[in-house]
């Protein structure tokens, strides 16, 4: 490996005419880390990846790789490998020629290329397909070919742009696990773009959550899940996402639909807030908030209940064997540490 693969983005701005695709993005990626850029479509995560790869130039700001400013360095000279969403395989070359291409460009002797190609193909389990052309491969096989082409040259940075989005659900889960193992075994820094929060949560060591051209939170999946920074992230992470309910805050308590719940907050005074409640953090208990069960989605081992709390819809996850009937009225509550408070005006965490 020719470098450590440490990345820093310093105030990166990208304008498309009047439209700001990125509004001053800052983050650091540590060497060997699996770092996910997560966000809905159009949030700027792919733009960030393209700027890191050197395929697009930022309007302002600096990109540092291994403490070297590469902002104006061409993609060719950044020593970065990338797997494209479309795979971008060379259609006129066989799988072997596709994988060998980056090594040939690096002017490696042929005697070294052949074993390296076989080794990379074996790692992603396509060594029996080396003579095929991309057009003769299935989507999953093409994806593996693109992976092999990226890992064969042992670049210092490994970029993946929604690599699993064109695979079917089952294959996506299998490949996800293999991808993580592959990255671990290679020890390479990986930057992974996805709009699928589950993918980011399971794969990433750390992640940056993008919302409309800005990073709203950087942290481990656990941190982001446990303490979302804003209403937008709270509504984006988790399946089903966090319930967000308008409420009144009075000296450490919140009042939802006339019912008082204790929180861990210590701010004195009274104000309007948005309360965040994870579906899995709600429990049934006597003397809680009254709610009618509108709909039950049985998922086998758990069920998701749609509850009507005096006109507000709240979703709750319950374990199997503990499921009330549709139309029943139940009483729910949450522990103080499971209640998240957000400012309705700034949309940020309180």
């Amino acid at each position: 490996m020719s470098g450590q693969g440490q990345v820093s983005f310093r105030n990166i701005v990208k304008m498309h005419g009047e439209f700001a695709a990125l509004k001053g993005v800052n983050f650091d990626i540590k060497p060997g880390e699996f770092f996910a850029l997560l966000g809905p479509s159009g949030s700027g995560k792919s733009t960030t990846l393209r700027i890191l790869a050197g395929l697009d130039a930022p309007t302002a700001g600096r990109v540092l790789i291994d403490d070297k400013d590469v902002t104006s360095t061409d993609a060719r000279d950044r020593d970065i490998a990338m797997v494209f969403q479309s795979y971008a395989l060379y259609p006129h070359m066989t799988v072997a020629e596709n994988i060998a291409f980056p090594l040939e460009m690096a002017k490696l002797p042929k005697a070294e290329i052949t074993p390296a190609v076989k080794d990379a193909a074996r790692k992603v389990k396509i060594d029996h397909l080396l003579d095929r052309k991309p057009g003769q491969l299935s989507g999953g096989q093409q994806q593996r070919c693109a992976l092999a082409r990226a890992i064969v040259r042992k670049a210092r940075l490994f970029l993946l742009d929604e690599p699993l989005s064109n695979l079917d659900a089952k294959l996506r889960l299998e490949t996800r696990a293999e991808l993580k193992k592959l990255q671990r075994s290679l020890g390479v820094t990986a930057v992974y773009v996805t709009h699928d929060q589950e993918e980011a949560m399971t794969l990433a060591d750390r992640m940056a959550v993008f919302m409309s051209g800005e990073i709203q939170q950087v942290g481990t999946p656990g941190e982001v899940f446990a303490r979302p920074n804003s209403i937008d992230i709270a509504g984006f992470i988790g399946n089903p996402p966090m319930n967000l309910v308008p409420a009144r805050y009075v000296d450490g308590d919140v009042i939802i639909a006339g019912h008082r719940l204790k929180t861990t907050a210590t701010i004195p005074g009274e104000r309007d807030v948005v309360v965040g409640l994870r579906p899995g953090a709600l429990r049934m208990a006597e003397g809680g908030l009254g709610a009618r069960v509108d709909l039950i989605e049985d998922l086998g081992d758990t069920a998701v209940l749609d509850l009507d709390c005096a006109g507000t819809m709240i979703r709750m996850r319950v374990a199997d064997g503990n499921i009330p009937g549709e139309g029943d009225t139940i009483s729910i509550t949450a522990r103080p540490q499971d209640i998240h408070l957000f400012d309705p005006a700034t949309r940020m965490r309180l």
Partner: protein, 311 residues
């Protein structure tokens, strides 16, 4: 017992269906034949029949200047042709003319297409202007070049040559320059065709593989040689085939510019067959020359199509 039941049921339900299918296929075939017939008959009358008549004529002595010698001669015309030095010269001129015009069209057309692909604006205008030479009649193109471009002293090319310090040249009077001139004229008129086809083909290439190649550390030249050229190959081969067919049978532009002269310097095989038939009125021998051109064209197109199929 169960097996027999299934088999007989299978046959019972299959028989009428395949019958139905056959009737349907027959009807479709008849309809297709009816659609095809007019074009087929027209081609038969205007292409196949004249060709067969040409081959038939080539087996006769048909001299309009000396009609008393006319009669069936079998392969005599072809024997004469093989020892006719002017035939071999004109064949060589044809091959040089075809080879150089096609090569120039592809190279210049591709260069222009690559250049225009990178143009941020004005592509549409460029295309419209580029198509103009193609829509002109070759005879008109020939006249334009003979008068406006190559005329001594006043022609644009000669004017430029004088100003560049090369002096006035006899563009159509000197054997070598005349050949160069007719090649330039054909190239000027037909390069836009290659340009348009290759530009369309270039525009259809996916952008992301070029980005992948940049990340794979391929230089601009390597991207062109290893990716653009192989992906454009089908389009290039198609242009070569189509332009070769036309160049081999070119006539009007050369006829109007040099009429095959000076001497026989620009006399392509087509022109020689024309001169033999309609100037010297030796129809039988002219037919044999035209048949020889047909054979040459078939051989060359056979080779090109084989190249197209090959990897």
């Amino acid at each position: 017992m169960a097996t027999t039941a299934v088999t007989s049921a299978g046959i019972a339900s299959e028989a009428p269906r395949s019958d139905f299918g056959r009737v349907l296929a027959q009807r479709e075939r008849r309809f297709a034949a009816a659609l095809l017939a007019p074009a087929f008959l027209a081609l038969l009358a205007t292409t196949t029949f004249p060709l067969l008549f040409l081959v038939y004529t080539s087996a006769f002595r048909m001299d309009l200047a000396m009609p008393f010698t006319n009669g069936f001669v079998g392969f005599e015309n072809y024997q004469v042709l093989l020892s006719d030095e002017r035939f071999w010269t004109s064949l060589l001129v044809s091959l040089v003319y075809t080879g150089s015009t096609v090569a120039l069209q592809v190279i210049i057309g591709l260069a222009l297409a690559l250049l225009v692909m990178d143009m941020k604006r004005g592509q549409g205008w460029f295309r419209v202007i580029a198509i103009l030479p193609v829509v002109l009649s070759p005879a008109v193109v020939g006249m334009i070049w003979r008068t406006f471009m190559l005329a001594p002293e006043f022609g644009i090319v000669d004017f430029l040559a004088i100003n560049a310090g090369l002096g006035s040249k006899n563009w159509l009077g000197d054997p070598t320059l005349a050949m160069v001139s007719v090649i330039a004229i054909h190239t000027w008129q037909w390069t836009p065709f290659a340009f348009m086809v290759l530009l369309a083909s270039l525009a259809s290439l996916p952008e992301d593989i070029y980005e992948a190649a940049r990340l794979d550390r391929a230089s601009a030249w390597q991207r062109f040689r290893r990716i653009t050229l192989p992906l454009l190959r089908p389009a290039i081969v198609m242009v070569v085939i189509m332009r070769t067919m036309v160049a081999l049978t070119a006539f009007a532009a050369i006829f109007t510019v040099t009429a095959g002269g000076p001497g026989t310097a620009t006399e392509i095989l087509n022109l020689y067959a024309y001169r033999k038939s309609f100037t010297e009125l030796s129809i039988g021998y002219g037919s044999a020359l035209a048949a020889a051109l047909l054979v040459v064209t078939i051989i060359i197109s056979g080779i090109l199509f084989a190249m197209r199929r090959a990897k």
